[in-house]
Point group: C2
């Protein structure tokens, strides 16, 4: 189980994210808005952009213990959960944080703005009927979202019976997932053609994949070696990367081990897997920090450029001036760069910038107050480093 | 270690082989000679054909413990043996049974008629200088011959430095081996391109390959899983068969285990490997029995055909008779088959037989005594079944 300390570690990333959100809203977004930065770059960041949790996608043959594993991490049932030795989970379930326990059916979830599932609509009704969001206030969900999936079935009528393309949906989730867990049953290893196809749909996301050889305590040591060996043998042929996939071997639920021979190994493996999952919010937070740093620097440069341009307007001859400035944009960029000693890499593409600014009356942009620039600089040089220091085990410096 | 019982089991195959040889010399070979069967079929069997032991070929990166493993099975040193952490074995060594301990250098071994290495001469002096036969009276060598090989070295100058093609020699041995053991070091797993090339040279003999993950007690449980997984992952890509290669995990020498966690597993694995090696003489003996049964039946049919033909000659008109018989050989074959109620499958190809017998004066073949045929039948119906009954765990009936 996760210790309380570990649970706290998970939510520290949350605090960082909340801090980022706050800084963005107070000091960056106002400047972005003043100088129409979203029109030049990408839309302004919303709460969902900050709050979306790293997603853990669980895939595997039926009855390998996917749902049980999620329940184990939640330390409780989630609404709609069904566990059993026969194929049980019959839909994709995004298990997310919510104050109140509830199920949002796929069709409804598909249109809610604040759920990351809007795009799922493109898979149509047949899929949305087989998708739901389960919300509940489990602590781990403050940091991670899990996606439970219907077990892969052997036999070719799977896809037909489902009326939507299992592999396509898997591909969509894989694209958005931060971690993809492939679960296997040591007691009944089965790498069917259907599973191989599903693994094939993960192509390009190999770095996100980890495997779990579950129920490893249900077999003898020698059997376990055979099964594990057979799994690696087959995986090596299906997953085309030269690097060996990490396979966590153990039993991932809250029951004691059947065969205690490997208790120490299984414990160590479980700890490794939990540590990996715990690292996801941090990595995700770091990625968000890096993205925000980059955006802030670009927004600042953008504001300085636009201000520089507007400041060159007198009372008369505005149209002529605008045309002249547009003709000499590269020179103007250089002037801004030298005046404020800015890195070239933070500057926008001249052609693209020129194209967009041409649609604005430059002289109408508001005046920039030094305090705004100072605040932005403070976000970069003081606030964000301070937030990062709160994160446990933060080693990697953000890319400058 | 092998128990005395196990050692006895190994030599039971020897007794079977000796019995076969005796029966062949006393009851089959005289008939073969009388009717020139070797000219029509394949050369008469020699002692070497019967006595050659099943061959176990050991291959692996340097220092994986190949030589140590052979020494462990012999329960003693063999002449010329060198063991060490650096690359030590610098030649191919056939470790064989001999009353007296001695080394026969490659050049000498290459020309000795009773050594199975005559054919090695085709690889030339450069190779023969790097080949030797080590003879010693270790019990296991009554049943198995081991071939120790120079460790595969990483880095491309291996083949150049060696002046003979390592892969070609490996291929030659693999063709003749009954078992190919690929040794790996759990403590220092290295599957170099050179090793992959050597494994490539085993193509077509996949059913003979077994792997040994040696020194598995030198690493922690978790490390062992990683290494074993990485090995299977890579092997699956190098060995193209869908069936998973059997990998024996453990420590294959006479020292106690370092890490005792997996003692039971390692013991079980060692027993499995020894059982596999113990089964080789039996399989090899069974193969020889089957070959002798087939040969005896063909020799008997051959004798009956030739006798049938010779018996049709009167005192005169021999040349004409011979020509007539040659023209109607199919009919004559049919007559023999019906007269003695023989299986069609034991008959030779008519054209080939005709071509060869045409060079003989059929009338000159000696008369066949019924006792000779009776003795051959007794070999098939009494003596060989009796010999087989002496073999432990003999389940498979010989192919009729
Ligand atoms: N670690 C474990 N050890 C032993 N049994 C387990 C373990 N985890 C789950 N099980 C059992 O395996 C069966 C299948 O579990 P579960 O329903 O969680 O699998 P699933 O992968 O979600 O299957 P499906 O694809 O059908 O939804 C259940 O009977 C469950 O109790
Ligand atoms: N089972 C084992 N556990 C630990 N160490 C071992 C084991 N077997 C061999 N060694 C050690 O490994 C080293 C290499 O052994 P050895 O010379 O038998 O390997 P090799 O495969 O024959 O090497 P080469 O290819 O150079 O001939 C030696 O130091 C030996 O003592
Ligand atoms: Mg399930
Ligand atoms: Mg050696």
């Amino acid at each position: 189980k996760m210790s309380d300390e570990q649970k706290d570690a998970l939510t520290e990333s949350d605090r960082v994210i909340n801090g980022l959100k706050d800084q963005y809203k107070r000091f960056i977004k106002p400047v972005e808005d003043m100088y129409k930065f979203p029109v030049f770059s990408s839309p302004a960041l919303t709460d969902t952009d900050f709050d979306s949790k790293p997603m853990v996608l669980c895939i595997g043959q039926y009855s390998t213990g996917k749902t049980t594993f999620i329940k184990y991490l939640l330390e409780r049932d989630f609404p709609g959960l069904r566990i059993g030795p026969e194929p049980t989970t019959d839909r994709f379930v995004a298990v997310m944080y919510g104050q109140n326990e509830r199920i949002i059916p796929g069709n409804a979830a598909g249109v809610q703005k604040d759920k990351p599932s809007t795009a799922l609509q493109k898979y149509g009704m047949a899929f949305l009927n087989k998708f739901e969001v389960a919300e509940l206030p489990a602590p781990i969900l403050r940091s991670l979202t899990f996606v439970d999936t219907p077990g892969v079935l052997s036999g070719s009528d799977q896809t037909k019976g489902r009326q939507y393309s299992f592999s396509e949906v898997i591909e969509w989730f894989a694209e958005r997932a931060d971690r993809i867990l492939l679960l296997f049953d040591a007691h009944k290893l089965d790498i069917s053609d259907e599973l191989k196809e599903a693994i094939g749909a993960l192509k390009g996301h190999d770095d996100k994949i980890r495997c779990v050889l579950n129920k490893a305590d249900k077999v003898s040591n020698q059997q376990l070696m055979r099964v594990y060996g057979a799994l690696m043998w087959s995986l090596g042929k299906v997953v085309r990367t030269p690097e060996v996939l990490r396979v966590y071997v153990g039993s991932f639920w809250d029951k004691p081990y059947d065969n205690m021979d490997n208790a120490a190994l299984f414990d160590a493996e479980r700890n490794d897997l939990l540590a990996d999952l715990r690292s996801l919010p941090r990595h995700s937070a770091i990625r968000k920090v890096n993205e925000l740093v980059k955006r802030t620097r670009q927004a600042k440069v953008h504001a300085l450029i636009v201000t520089h341009l507007r400041n060159q307007f007198g009372y008369f001859g505005k149209t002529k001036k605008q045309r002249k400035l547009l003709e000499n944009l590269t020179d103007e960029f250089n002037q801004v760069q030298q005046t404020y000693n800015l890195p070239k890499g933070d500057f926008p593409n001249v052609e693209r910038f020129s194209e967009i600014i041409a649609k604005f009356d430059m002289s109408k942009f508001p005046k920039l107050h030094q305090k705004m620039i100072d605040d932005m600089d403070k976000v970069l040089s003081v606030q964000i480093p301070k937030l990062l220091k709160e994160m446990p085990n933060f080693e990697k410096p953000m890319s400058a």
